[in-house]
Subunit: 183 residues, 2 copies
């Protein structure tokens, strides 16, 4: 069985070289030179810092959306996808105080988060990891890992710019944006 | 800040004495004589077995339901509530393969899970702990801890009997029911 658990570590040498690391909001993370992504529960290799998350069931997608997504999406590791982005975010207490119907309303009815991401499929692939329920004290709530080809880097910029303008992003209190290239 | 993380351990002596331990479905757990509930991330005391979970935001409750719940519910630790129940459950792959709207439909529109529990407030108090996203390999998905007065033990039986007859419970593949008394 493949693991649902992933660790992202800042290492001196590794498969993904950091091109750019921006603190979009909240406290920064120490600058990384390379990132290693490790699947499974084993302790990560020694590193400057590491973040961990677990893939889970979808929290907002409805049946019709899942079918539309399934028709377009492909997995990570596509040939030629030598660019990646690691974007950990943390949402504020107001977000976690909303009820399920209210979170869904902000995320999709107001912010079109699911639909926005769909517009960029299959060129931009992603895997979402949840952190919040791993322990009492995770620094982020979500870690998203994206992969795409160098010629789609501009489209990726457009996707994150669009998301950051949505009502949903008013609930984001910490966000780091790390862009990477296959080393 | 109070911890969201709890450990439930089978111990030879402790604050809650086991009156009855029934395997409702799936593999059993070794018989326990006492249960200790520990808040916080510290390693639990040596024990025969232990289960861990984390409280989290609500996954299904809508705004009107939360308000109705808030008007009736009280916290754990009420005076005279010397009875408790520890009920870990695991749901099957079919449940986790449903989309959010489908899970909500089974849980509330078909099974009246939220409404059922509300009928037993404030006499029967509860705390729900999530396990599934703590790691790759938790034995259960949820642990619910209930407290009530001895004179409400019959009503508690009624609540769990009603829940087990719902469509939602067709997705439960493992359930242990441990009844306890303050030692």
């Amino acid at each position: 069985m493949s693991s649902r658990f992933f660790t992202f570590s800042a290492v001196p040498r590794g498969p993904w070289r950091v091109l750019d690391q921006i603190t979009v909001s909240g406290p920064s993370l120490p600058s990384a030179s390379h990132i290693r992504v490790q699947a499974g529960p084993e302790a990560p290799a020694p590193s400057d810092w590491s973040l961990r998350g677990i893939t889970s069931h979808e929290r907002y997608v409805e049946r019709a959306e899942r079918e539309a997504l399934a028709a377009r999406q492909v997995g990570l590791g596509q040939p030629g996808h030598t660019c990646a982005a690691l974007i950990p975010i943390r949402k504020n207490a107001a977000w976690w105080g909303l009820t399920q119907d209210e979170r869904r309303r902000v995320l999709e009815e107001q912010s079109r988060h699911i639909r926005l991401g769909m517009n960029y499929l299959p060129q931009i692939t992603r895997r979402l990891h949840h952190c919040r329920d791993l322990s009492d004290s995770e620094p982020f709530d979500f870690i998203t890992w994206f992969e795409y080809a160098p010629q789609d880097a501009g489209r990726f910029d457009e996707l994150v710019r669009e998301l950051r303008q949505t009502p949903e992003w008013q609930y984001v209190e910490r966000e780091i944006d790390i862009r990477l290239q296959a080393a």
